[in-house]
């Protein structure tokens, strides 16, 4: 999205950066004026609460000091130190489980929805009778609100529910019906519905991406003797890379910050999903609003924010060239 002023720059004398900016502002005064209210609004809505959250992470902020809010006792790095090093800190024990689960959950879900979405997009990109009806039908899981997904799958996973009926009574995969909402199986009880709900969105995006690839290069490749698989690896995938890159980031953020499915499946936010079902967001919500430790809750979320920024940094390095290509 280069600014159109760039092509007006004189080629011979390379002007200083500030000169370029001065010229940009002068030439586009009206455009910049239009942006000012938005910038002020963004600062108010985004930056202030962020600074506030940052400040709160240095306070002993609980129910007794909440009334004083920003004037609560200052404890410096105590909230951070407690979370990182104090093994007696119950929050820290809970966070270990939540971090492990969130990593497993977001890696599997992200990979799962991307592969499912891509495969279905490739299928749907072919011409076959009833294609448009099929495409619409595929979108069904995505249209179901995540609250409903949680409640619905919560029923299906129950010990005498439909999933165990298929796994045990029909397919005879286990000797006895396992629990899915108790114990270590819980992680699958949240991963599978999330993938089920998430892939149609990716299918739509990839489908749009596939349709920008011109048909004739495939024809040329076929004439040159490249098989379907080779065409996929050497043409489709590289051409889709910018789309894949953006969706990858979107999915990582989305899944790390996932909350609804777990909260609706396990006691509507009131229950404890257990050591294999708790995610960072459910743990942090419990931490802040259940234990009323708003200070260490903010500290934990600030740390999470920096962790996410690092992920974004790695992501940007990996895909920089694709993203700047246009």
């Amino acid at each position: 999205m280069g600014l159109h002023t760039e092509k007006n720059l004189p080629v011979k004398a390379a002007p200083s950066k500030s000169a370029v900016w001065r010229k940009r502002v002068r030439d586009n005064k009206f455009a910049y004026m239009l942006m000012v209210p938005t910038i002020i609004f963004m600062l108010l809505v985004h930056l202030l609460p962020m600074i506030q959250g940052f400040w709160m992470s240095f306070l002993k902020l609980n129910q007794f000091t909440l009334g004083k809010y920003l004037k609560a006792p200052f404890v410096g790095m105590d909230n951070y130190i407690g979370l990182l090093f104090n093994s007696d800190n119950p929050v820290r024990q809970g966070l270990n489980f939540a971090i492990r689960n969130t990593v497993i959950y977001s890696v599997i879900v992200t990979i799962g929805v991307m592969i499912m979405g891509l495969m279905m997009a490739l299928l749907m990109n072919r011409d076959f009778p009833g294609r448009s009806i099929a495409r619409t039908a595929m979108l069904l899981p995505w249209v179901v609100p995540s609250y409903v997904v949680g409640v619905l799958w919560g029923f299906m996973w129950q010990q005498n529910g439909i999933i165990n009926y298929f796994l045990v009574d029909v397919l005879h995969l286990f000797d006895e019906k396992p629990f899915w909402l108790l114990g270590p199986n819980t992680i699958w009880a949240i991963i599978i519905p999330t993938i089920w709900r998430g892939w149609p969105f990716l299918m739509v995006i990839f489908l749009a991406g596939l349709q920008t690839i011109p048909e004739d290069i495939y024809e040329a490749a076929t004439i040159d003797g490249a098989g379907k698989l080779r065409q996929f690896w050497n043409m489709t995938l590289p051409m889709l890379k910018p789309v894949i890159a953006v969706q990858l980031l979107f999915q990582i953020i989305n899944n790390v910050y996932s909350y609804n499915i777990v909260s609706t499946m396990f006691g509507n936010g009131a229950g404890y999903p257990g050591e294999w079902g708790d995610l960072l967001m459910t743990a942090l919500t419990r931490q802040s609003f259940g234990y009323w430790s708003f200070g260490s809750g903010s500290a934990a979320s600030i740390m999470l924010m920096f962790a996410m920024l690092m992920v974004v940094g790695v992501w940007y390095r990996a895909f920089r060239s694709e993203l700047n290509a246009q």
Binding site: M1, H46, P49, M50, Q52, G53, F54, M56, N62, Q63, F64, L66, G67, Y69, L70, K71, P90, G94, G154, W157, Q158, N160, K177, F179, W180, L181, L182, G183, P184, N185, V246, I253, Y257, M265, F266, G267, N268, G269, A270, G271, Y272, P273, G274, E275, L284, R286, F289, G290, Y291, W292, F294, S298, S301, I302, L304, M305, M308, V312, L323, N324
Partner: protein
């Protein structure tokens, strides 16, 4: 690309808003002013004739009945007819999100006039300065003597004589059992619910009875994925002679030998096969509908279930179920430490930020009168909080059983830190159910004790913070 970066930071920041959002528009000077106004108001309030100036009151209530706002207004209708100058606006808060909204209101001073609070929330909101002291006014509604003692203790903070709320309605837990199944198994219901031993042998007798061609489980109880986990376990700890905290509320008591006995007896019922293990994954309302569907012979629930069984199917009730015509209510069995059950309920409070405290108090006076309590109990299926009504001879048999239950009913310590305490207990009791289900180590006295001890360590830190 820039767009993506902006949306990432937007997402991150949105999250920090969530975390910091609980503060809302903090205005401590505002609440200080309110405190001042309140003093003036109560000083001039002595004559207690509410003005006839037009006034609009906002009330925040939770869904206590099938049509929460309509039922609330219906109860209030006679009052509003008599006071045409009063307009009442009702906002229904979902139980799940109510806590966050109320604490936000309490810190910002922006909220309703009349506020319903769950009985365990009163000390916390009072300690935040969110609700008014009404100590000098409660005589208007009959004072402590007029209400169920167990619920009255929750109107103040333990160790403090100030009163912050008036009990509105009461919820107690008792046993629902299938009369037909007990008869078929030849169990005498007059003695079956006497004590722990008779209860267990009664359950063993009804377990696996065939009803309508299907085997019935003796007991239905929810495990961990439920909002009542803590309320379900404590009656058994109390009945074993245990307690939540020590008498001075400074130490933890629930993990001592008696507390452990209580937990082992209750969870033992599931471990010994008297409970269909599938029910350990369910929540209270699923357990209730399972009972309605004839999957279990006994469950423990509150007065609302009897109301539900009496409500026609067309209105969302369960009157068509076989259980609806074949059930009775009995008290919880006595343990070595006596008889106990959980008593909860809600209170009506005057919000500190209210500008119409006089008019609000007048409405509360009406809502806690005999007339209104009776009317609200009828629409909501909850128990009235006034003793005169609880002891009234015209209660039906089921309500009488619940009224009986309130006599040995107990509540949690009325401490400001109860909220986080209950969250911690919820977490560890959930782990106990994982142990019972066999997915987290082996079920034994030692493993349960270990979990209770780790709960105790956490709770101790919370109450001494």
């Amino acid at each position: 690309m820039k767009k993506t970066a902006v949306s990432i930071s937007a997402l991150l920041m949105a999250f920090s808003v969530v975390v910091s959002g609980c503060g809302g528009n903090n205005n401590s000077s505002n609440s200080a002013n309110n405190g001042g106004n309140k003093q003036e108001a109560s000083a001039t309030a002595a004559p207690a004739t509410p003005s006839t100036e037009p006034v609009t009151l906002n009330a925040w209530v939770m869904p206590n009945s099938p049509k929460p706002d309509a039922d609330f207004l219906k109860t209030l209708d006679p009052y509003l007819k008599e006071h045409p100058n009063v307009t009442m606006k009702v906002t229904v808060l979902d139980w799940g999100s109510a806590w966050t909204k109320i604490t936000t209101a309490a810190t910002s001073g922006e909220g309703p006039d009349l506020l319903q609070l769950g009985s365990t929330w009163v000390p916390a909101i009072a300690s935040m300065g969110g609700i008014d002291k009404i100590t000098d006014k409660v005589a208007d509604v009959g004072g402590a003597e007029a209400f169920l003692p167990a619920i009255w203790t929750t109107t103040s903070i333990a160790g403090d004589s100030e009163v912050y709320g008036v009990p509105w309605f009461v919820d107690a837990r008792a046993i629902y059992y299938r009369t037909d199944v007990f008869k078929q198994a030849g169990v005498d219901t007059a003695t079956a619910f006497k004590d722990w031993d008779s209860f267990k042998s009664a359950l063993q007798a009804v377990n696996g009875q065939t009803v309508d061609g299907k085997k019935i489980a003796a007991l239905g109880l929810p495990g961990k994925n439920d909002w009542n986990v803590v309320h379900n376990i404590f009656p058994w700890i109390w009945a074993a002679g245990g307690d939540v905290l020590s008498a001075d509320n400074k130490d933890v008591a629930f993990n001592d030998d008696k507390g452990l006995d209580g937990v082992m007896y209750y969870t033992g019922l599931a471990a010994e096969g008297l409970v269909d293990k599938a029910s350990l994954e369910k929540n209270s309302s699923q357990i209730e509908s399972d009972f309605g569907d004839g999957k279990s012979a006994v469950i423990i629930s509150g007065p609302w279930l009897a109301k539900n069984f009496a409500t026609p199917k067309a209105n969302g009730g369960m009157d068509d179920k076989k259980a609806a015509k074949n059930f009775a209510v009995a008290p919880l069995p006595a343990g070595p430490g006596g008889q106990a059950t959980f008593v909860g309920g809600s209170e009506l409070t005057v919000f500190s930020g209210s500008k119409n405290k006089e008019a609000t108090w007048d409405v509360i006076k009406y809502l806690t009168s005999d007339e209104a309590q009776k009317a609200y109990a009828a629409v909501s299926g909850q128990l009235p909080a006034r003793l005169s009504l609880l002891e009234s001879p015209d209660l039906d048999a089921n309500m009488k059983a619940f009224s009986e239950a309130t006599k040995y009913g107990r509540t949690y310590p009325s401490i400001p830190q109860w909220g986080p305490t209950e969250t911690a207990l919820q977490k560890h009791f959930a782990n106990v159910w994982d142990i019972v289900a066999g997915v987290k180590g082996k079920y034994s006295k030692e493993s349960v004790k270990e979990e209770l001890d780790s709960a105790a360590a956490e709770v101790k830190a919370i109450i001494n913070q």
